[in-house]
């Protein structure tokens, strides 16, 4: 009867799934080309069961289980580095290609004198720290065959290929980089280093005083040191950024961009794809030049292989260069920045306060994070690296469905890693 049903309802037990102080969990999602082991999931390359085939491409986000909370991630050319701000001994993990020891020396389990050429799982990287239980790793960055790790009190550690001096140490003729134990420590800067950026074969360091140091290959002028030679010691950049307080540096291919605290943009390096065509006709610029774009105060810049992106204070995204820039299939190259309409990022009459909070560039892909935690990607979909589930190129910003609020994303050549917070 009705009364009995009502009494049964009221007597039913109340279950509790989440407490009042339940915290949001941090997760890592990876997608893209997995054959090199760069995604860190061994069953993609070596399946658990004999009848399963190895997976070449992961086209949608896949969860990567990590032991610690990952605070910084970087994708290189076929390898990935993850780091955490913990004070434990293991602070940095690496996976993927290790033919140039860009992940340090990974001792093989079969033969104790040899190292692994491909690392399929996030494996700890042993850093030669003097105070391993006090130093914290702030940021990691990966280039084509080298990587940089930034700590808070012990400078910058570099490992990997040094044939162009990109690790900041003297170039040794005929050095074999595979299975090498060398991890170089860089400490001589004018002040503490706060950001490290790896280009394809060069490295950039930004210090607290606002100066930029560079070393590595310079044939495209990407070191910015007024010459086209190799530099093997980090040297301070002059040119238009001398005396300017730089707050952000960006690079991934052979071009570089820097943003000052007043919102000005400086660029140097490769200009074959019209990246710096607004100030010069030459295709290689080896001194930082100020880019006088009238798009407003710039908050962040990102540099890809052939295209560049800038984010202004109002939350608008501007693109220029060559490639799939994000304004449809007709716009393939421009020397002057063009704005991507904010309606593509979800701004409408019902949501007027959506703005882009962070931008990142891969080699020919672009990624933008909004303040609501949504990730938008566009560009060339090389081996499924955009994570949209399809293998075709994407000509305008498209949402990536990630089960969580995306906090940061790292773009590589053919894979991407995202740091995500769960919803509740």
């Amino acid at each position: 009867s009705l009364r009995q049903l009502r009494e049964a309802d009221e007597a039913a037990p109340v279950l509790r799934y989440a407490g009042r102080a339940a915290r949001r969990k941090e997760r890592v999602f990876v997608w893209g080309f997995c054959h090199s082991g760069a995604l860190g999931i061994p069953s993609f390359v070596r399946p658990d069961a004999g009848w399963k085939k190895p997976r070449r491409v992961q086209p949608t986000p896949y969860r990567l289980e990590t032991e610690e909370k990952i605070s910084s991630a970087a994708c290189g050319y076929g390898f990935t580095l993850l780091s955490s701000t913990t004070t434990d001994i293991t602070k940095v993990w690496g996976m993927g290609l290790n033919k140039d020891s860009q992940l340090g020396f990974q001792r093989s389990m079969g033969d104790r004198n040899k190292g692994y050429e491909y690392v399929l799982e996030p494996s700890p990287i042993a850093l030669p720290l003097t105070k391993p239980q006090q130093t914290r790793v702030l940021q990691v960055s990966c280039g084509r065959a080298h990587s940089l790790i930034l700590t808070d009190s012990e400078g910058v550690f570099s490992m990997g290929n040094n044939s162009y001096g990109q690790c900041g140490r003297k170039v040794i003729e005929d050095e074999t980089y595979s299975e090498s134990h060398v991890i170089h420590q860089l400490k001589e800067f004018d002040s503490r280093v706060v950001q490290v950026v790896c280009g394809q074969d060069h490295s950039l360091f930004r210090t607290k005083k606002g100066a930029v140091y560079a070393c590595g290959w310079g044939a495209d002028g990407q070191t910015g040191l007024a010459s086209y030679n190799i530099t093997s010691v980090p040297t301070k950049l002059q040119g238009d950024i001398a005396g300017v307080n730089i707050v952000q540096v960006a690079s991934y291919g052979d071009g570089c961009l820097a943003v000052s605290d007043e919102g000005d943009l400086f660029g140097w390096g490769n200009s074959e794809y019209l990246q710096l065509a607004s100030v010069t006709e030459t295709t290689q610029v080896n001194v930082p030049r100020h880019l006088p774009f009238k798009i407003g105060k710039i908050k962040e810049a990102a540099c890809g292989g052939t295209g560049n992106m800038a984010l202004t204070e109002e939350g608008n995204v501007f693109v220029w260069g060559y490639g799939i820039l994000g304004k449809g299939p007709k716009l393939l190259e421009t020397a002057v920045p063009e704005m991507i309409p904010p309606s593509l990022f979800g701004r409408s009459d019902f949501n007027p306060d959506i703005r882009v909070a962070r931008i990142r560039c891969g080699l020919s892909q672009f990624a933008a994070l909004t303040n609501r935690g949504e990730l938008f990607v566009w560009g060339k979909n090389l081996r499924g690296c955009l994570g949209i589930g399809r293998m075709e190129d994407q000509y305008f910003p498209w949402r990536v469905t990630v089960p969580g609020e995306v906090v940061d994303v790292a773009c590589g050549v053919d894979h991407m890693v995202s740091l995500v917070k769960s919803f509740t």
Binding site: A8, D9, A12, P13, V14, L15, R16, Y17, A18, G19, R20, A21, A22, K327, G328, P329, K330, P341, S343, L344, G346, S348, F350, N351, R372, G373, E374, E392, D393, Q394, Y395, F396, W398, R399, T401, E405, F423, T424
Partner: protein, 260 residues
Amino acid sequence: LNAAPRRPPPLHVRFLPGPADGTAAPGLVATRVPVLAEHHLVTGPRFRRLKMGAGHRLDTKASGVMVLGIGHGNKLLTDLYNCHLSKVYTVGGLFGKATDDFSDTGKLVEKTTFDHITREKLERILAVIQGTNHKALLMYSNIDMKTQEAYEMAVKGLIRPMGKSPPIITVIRCLQFALPEFQLEIHCLHETQQYLRKIVHEIGLELKSSAVCTQVRRIRDGVFTLDDALLRTQWNLQSIQNAIWDCQLKVKTEIERTLA
């Protein structure tokens, strides 16, 4: 309608024999007489049946605007259906209970706590629902994403599925939030009211609790809003005629704009 005064029956010319008095000439005189076949006692009431059609369905447990078409309006109903305009609902929900048919009158399945839910968490879930549905909107519209026209329409926000598609929510936002009750406004396409109740249930699951739907009210169906709708007390001829007259222009412009 039948009690309304109607025009008098038409007249026709009949040649009838003239009045039989000695003075006038005998013969036929042309006179106008009413057509007997059109007399109201012969033809009967003018309206015996009215062709009425119904627009988008509304559940027994839901309320709100329902569009009906009369006579010629049935053809306009099919045109309006092909325009695929979105509908707006106000959905009320209650945290703490889960039932088998997702509404508060169903059989209880589970009771959970809900004191950890905040408005911020709810809005985050709603933003994600909106994002994934926006993606579905673009995908089910069957437009090739690689063309310049697709890019321009996506910028203006005009892309939507113009054929059959699963239910898609275009806008969802929280109007009121007072634990355990909350109210959402949902703009959607091709949906059913039971789908909206299921969405409320899934929002409850996503927030690590449970929710049931207490109220589904349609406040807008394409071009027809609550202001155009007639209440139960207004179901009389004059108000219906006024309502049809007011909506004519709106419907015509909308059909021309979308199906052009």
